[in-house]
Amino acid sequence: MFTYDPVLFSRILTELTLTFHIIYATIGVGVPLMIAIAQWVGIRKKDEHYILLARRWTRGFVITVAVGVVTGTAIGLQLSLLWPNFMNLAGQVISLPLFMETFAFFFEAIFLGIYLYTWDRFNDQKKHFLLLIPVAIGSSASALFITIVNAFMNTPQGFELKNGVITNIQPLVAMFTPAMPTKVAHVLTTAYMTSAFVLASIAAYHLFKGNRHPYHKKALHLTMKAALIFSLATIVVGDLSGKFLAKYQPEKLAAAEWHFETSTYAPLVLFGTLDDNKEVKNAIKIPYALSILAYNRPGAEVTGLNDIPKEEQPPLYIHYLFNLMVLIGIWLTVIAALYWAGMKKGLAFTMKKSFLMQLVLSGPLAMLAIEIGWYFTEVGRQPWILRGYMKTAEAATKSAHVDTLLVVFSLLYVVLGIASVVVLTKMFRNNPVERELEERALNQGGVSS
């Protein structure tokens, strides 16, 4: 029979809210940068297409921001509602970056409001462009501060805990944890990368449908170039993240790699299955690769899961999450590189339908990798909510009704998700690029002497 377990329901509800929020948050962090790039290129090249690109992206962006504000408020409150014991403890040490995040978002919201409603209030486009800089800085700063909190949960420091009482608190030490540099870099580069691919998908979709307007070609070219740069950055950061894990969170890396015995010359295990004796079967093994990933040396010793107490081991299914995330990342880098090389050499395949289809899929795939990546890092921290100090089960609320709320919030997210997709498609369908370009040309012809 079912027994009401608030810990389980709190976990599911938090997962659900984050799964939904992370889509909007990723777009919220990455797209302002892409808009800024497009508007800047437009100003430099005096090319109306790029300016319009920035305008249209902004219009869509506003919708995602609005939903992001809603889901962000939800997760902000749910942290205290579902994890009161955690916030009671961690709040004493890590509330500084949480507090700073609200400032960053405040800053972003103010300038976004101004930017949106002042497209035609400045004669000089450059002045309007300047308003976008605080938006981009604010959104990336929000990501920075929130990721600092997440890094703290993985490698907490900057306090002492004795008999449930926290002493000797150092807020800045708590902010600059070992996990912080790689985590922040990983969140930012992947957000930029994903946003670039999402926008590239849209351009590729129009080209795929046979619309060969230069506007879409320029859009694809700009976004794919950005996507390639951020993909390469992500690979570098991903490698550094592996080295961070090996040193500071060996149990997460070991579980992700199904690496049981501590050993040198450790191979990298791709996919496969486990039998009852925890023997890896059907897997692709790349010799020495895990040692290289962990320490840059094939002979390096990598801690195995058997050295971790049983009750502190993360679930083993994160292996598949880790593999999928990495594979999607590599695949996306490859197609971005192919596109770039093809364009450079003037090869025709870049406009072939089969290749364009891959580009159309790149945005959704990148977003999928973001989701899988978050599942990996969050599940990989289990059973801890605050690694080494507090277990997830101790942190959750004991209140009734979490199960009912789970149902209600599921409905809410379904409605919001469907509505945002419908609104976004309607918004752009009803106002195609060609028509808007014509109108703008007419208006400007009328105004300028």
């Binding site: 506003v62 919708i63 609005a66 939903v67 504000v69 809603v70 889901t71 408020t73 939800a74 902000g76 409150l77 749910q78 205290s80 509602l81 579902l82 994890w83 009161p84 916030m87 009671n88 403890l89 709040g91 004493q92 040490v93 509330s95 500084l96 949480l98 507090f99 700073m100 995040e101 609200t102 400032f103 978002f105 405040f106 800053f107 919201a109 103010i110 409001g113 101004i114 409603y117 002042t118 209030r121 605080p134 002493t167 608190i169 150092q170 807020p171 609320t397 209140s399 009704h401 979490v402 709320l405 209600v408 919030f409 809410l412 919001l416 509505a419 945002s420 609104v423 976004l424 918004m427």
Partner: protein
Amino acid sequence: MTLEIVGISVLWLFLFGYIIVASIDFGAGFFSAYSEIANKKHVIHQVIQRYLSPVWEVTNVFLVFFFVGMVGFFPKTAYYYGTILLVPASISIILLAIRGSYYAFSTYGIKDNKAYMFLYGMTGVFIPASLSIVLTISEGGFVRMDGGEPALLYKQLFVSPFTWSVVLLSLTSVLYISANFLTYYANAAGDDRARDLLRKYALVWSGPTILSALVIIYQLKHHNAEHYTKMMDVSWMFVVSFLFFVLSLYLLIKKRYFGWSFISLVLQYAFAFYAYGISHYPYLLYPYLTIYDSFTNRTMAVALVIAFIAGLFLLVPSLFLLLKLFLFDKKYVKGQV
């Protein structure tokens, strides 16, 4: 002044800021929806949309700021209020979500949809009602301790006349504050028909706000005598608040200085809100939690205060720019930009 008091003063200021800007927003939404249904849309819709569109996200941040700051300065509130408010706060989140998505989907996306408009208008009434519950709970009497775990007594809360008086005050205040501000805004926009209609709304709601406030003070005498006694110690502040109410109403009736009328109204609420807050001291939740036993450590508090001051240097000029462009820019207000 202790750090505890600095902390709660900062938070109280932000909560006050939220109450004013959010009331304008909630009430405007309600009037907007009402005018749609009562076929007066053409009169006030335009004014409301022009004011609301650029600022709604900023409004929401005031709330987030308040609860994040609360957990920062007073982490134990996360434990007490987090546990107690699971259901009421979740309801608020859902209502806020409906409201936020209206802005996303209707203002930026598609043409107004009547059903959505109605929902949106209703959230303008239900959100303040659901949020006001927190203040009611803070007065004590609605929380039981189950072996160290706080639990909300839903039934007591629901049947208490005190709860409903607070809800009533929140509703009437939202409509009064909003109508008063929008009268000023419509006047600045030179839209006389909208101004006259909104002024009428403001006059209608002025009496009920004062009445419901008086009822609450009377009920508090029985519900929480300790708080009531302390309130009487600062009764002069309520008197000053009332004088500002009279001044604000007088200007509104005389149809003059709408801006000053609104400023008097803000002062009216400020005095009453601070008198309430000061007399609530030191309790965050009667009788379990005070600002002293829930306070974070000194180091964190100092860090938060420094971050707050640094943040203000960033925010105040930005907010000023926002107001200058949309509230005090004559051309924008009149719809010429």
